[in-house]
Symmetry: C2
Amino acid sequence: MICFTYTRRLERWGLFEAACPGFSDKNPFTDYAVQGIFRHKNETVKAEGFYDGEGLYKVRFMPSFTGEYSFEVRGSFSEETYTGAFTVDPAVGDNHGPVRVANTYHFAYEDGKPYYPVGTTCYVWELQSDELQKKTLETLAQNAFNKIRFCIFPKHFDYNLGEPRSYPYVGTPMDGSILTRENSFSYMGAGEEAGNNWDFKRFNVEYFQHIDKSIAALRDLGIEADLIVMHPYDRWGFSRMDAECDDLYWNYIVARFAAYRNVWWSLANEYDLMPQKKISDWERYAGILCEKDPYNHLRSIHNCRSFYDYSRPWVTHCCIQRQDIYKSTELTAEYRQRWGKPVVLDEIAYEGNIQHGWGNISGRELVRRFWEAACRGGYAGHGETFEHPQDILWWSHGGELHGESPERLKFLYRILSETPGPGLTPMEGRWDGTTAGVDELFDLSGYYLYYYSFMRPSFRDFYYDDKRDYKVEVIDTWEMTIEDRGVHRGRFKVELPGKEYMAVRIQRIKRQEKN
Amino acid sequence: MICFTYTRRLERWGLFEAACPGFSDKNPFTDYAVQGIFRHKNETVKAEGFYDGEGLYKVRFMPSFTGEYSFEVRGSFSEETYTGAFTVDPAVGDNHGPVRVANTYHFAYEDGKPYYPVGTTCYVWELQSDELQKKTLETLAQNAFNKIRFCIFPKHFDYNLGEPRSYPYVGTPMDGSILTRENSFSYMGAGEEAGNNWDFKRFNVEYFQHIDKSIAALRDLGIEADLIVMHPYDRWGFSRMDAECDDLYWNYIVARFAAYRNVWWSLANEYDLMPQKKISDWERYAGILCEKDPYNHLRSIHNCRSFYDYSRPWVTHCCIQRQDIYKSTELTAEYRQRWGKPVVLDEIAYEGNIQHGWGNISGRELVRRFWEAACRGGYAGHGETFEHPQDILWWSHGGELHGESPERLKFLYRILSETPGPGLTPMEGRWDGTTAGVDELFDLSGYYLYYYSFMRPSFRDFYYDDKRDYKVEVIDTWEMTIEDRGVHRGRFKVELPGKEYMAVRIQRIKRQEKN
């Protein structure tokens, strides 16, 4: 006998779940519906549920308020209506709620705390062995990354020829033992004809239960799960389902994952490498998200060569792969202006040494790109692709980090976290240095961050006004040092070491308030 | 009593000079004309002469053929017609004649020897002390630079506040002792109102005689003198003369310098920073060059922000300052396509550590930019701007070199010199590496140079055909090593060290000719 169970007490933005017994004849994924209605004095929220196997239909919910909620769960899945109530306590610890767009170009948690994304990419870290996943989480715990991009579907690509830990659908995969590095690309986008045999109308719930756990583990580390819902690196046919099955999938993952506060939706990785999907398809998926995600988690879509139209209203922020080998985050300010949304350059080449140009830049170059983004009021993304004897590359599999950039990204995160006010804004300045500041509109103006990139000035001159005092610090972004250079007024000169990757931070000293 | 003297024997492309006494009343620079006519069985050349002080009018000539020449010098400067004859011997040693455009995008000396420009910039090296000039020439002798850009007029700019060794005109300069780094920019473009007092119709011949010697010294080192005829960095008014005086100057320098085989004409440095000159002025100067330079030395003009229209017929090659901080020589192939002429990116930021972003990149970055140019079938330019206790910066003053790039540019010059056939052509290839080859149209095809820039592949795969053999070398462009990797056929993999700045050179092995 399976019992109706539900969460009775949780914190604000926590995960409520009700598990309700229902019919398990026919196809529970397609033939029955389940919905929850959640009521609080401040909100009433409808949330679709999903079938999770063993006769259980589940409805999940993320409360936005503290206090008492009541709920009912009903639908064709059962003749019964399940009802109950639960109590929401204030958030504690690192729980600040879901991340939202703040001040047009930036992000903040729902409780108002600024969120400065320092993201990384591990495309299928959650489909690796328990041991490797454990190692990934340990590595994440030791680093500054507060967002991780990963795929819901398994990945077929160079360095990704193995089988995932399980499959999202009931059925059997093609014979992976025939794959070699040389022939693997010819199976890209394969389906039934290659020996795959799936029922795209029956999800393998264990597969998704495991992703649940992975999202929760990230949440508990304070890391946003930037879920890549579709992608082209596929030999099983998951990228070539028909519209009905696609929509079933989209509805399923929204019902399943939306109540995790740390979820972001990335409609696709390299959507433009999926010619089988038209713009009208992407817009339809976005429509499902907008309609069915009760929490309006952040939504975007990631390009290979052609940018998606980020001006579409459903797009909350730009999720960009650079289009040029030489200029990536240097274009952040142009992108801000073009789309008027936060700019996240998630893919700007990875630190590593593999044969592909997107995966073999130095840590110095990657960190430089991060600073270029930051000092233009945007955000960059990390990834790592070093050759490995067992082909375990952080970029896809997670595991350990071997590069020089992560320590420096921790340092950058510290600098970003010290930004006053609503986030950095690119500033007009000399052409030969990237300058960010905090907009004068805000009370906390008088903050300037100058970044010299690969340029190596041995000094720079500064002048703001003759009347106020400015605190000056010289930052070595690579050596991760901050040197106090005292307080200056009027025209002043800052000596620099004539090295690459230096920055100068200047902050106006607040006058004492008069009584 | 001043005598008529002339050179009786010289080598092909050497400098013939006849010095003819004439009137020295009135203004010999404007009131008298002098012209030479040079006759050989293969050519008859008219060359304007110039007044060189002490009652002497000079006519210079560069013979293009060996054998007997006769000449006459006549004009209003004298009632006499001076005649004579001289013998031209074959060129010897490093004399290969003037440099010409060859194969649309490249250069060759007139005797057919390919010329691969590896240029540097020392704007006013020839206006420094004898001691410093001597040092500059010693430095040049030890390096690979085979072209040097420098100005005919003295330079007023940051690090260039001192007086030149003398002045191009008769008169007196403004008081330079009032200059400070802070006020110097306010004197840019100054003239009479700042206390300058020049007769723009009377040249100071000693000034130009010294430039003669400087050009000849470069010639004797096998270095092309890329003469910058006008520039905006001026506090004396030389950049603001009227059209009549400008034309007098242009005619004078053409008459004076054109017979040096190593002269190139750069109409201006940063022409677009001289708003007092219109496009019609530049075109008029070019017209003087085209009409009066009997040897058709190479002609171009150098920009600051806006490119000149290099498609103008008088422009022999593009002389480009990069327009972007991040992309410079990476755009070489686009420029080739746009203008269909040789692309020389003479100013792509200098190795150094001064405060200006155009003068503080690393040697590594500068060398990288040179390779990017080379592997796209173009050429880059060097410069060096390190802070110096006496403000002696190679970029303006010459002297010694302190940077890391010159050694590597020697190495690049060696690689370029080993190019078979007519020069490198950018090739279609993988997007993540710059590839040059030699056009298949030529007999020496089957030559490929792959450059990986800041990317760090630990291997690359290659395939041309199944039937022929290819010699493979791995080049470390920074460490200046060439590693033989043997001969390969069909598909092959080249292991690389996963470091920046690597290149691979692959050459098809010629089959034995059958008898």
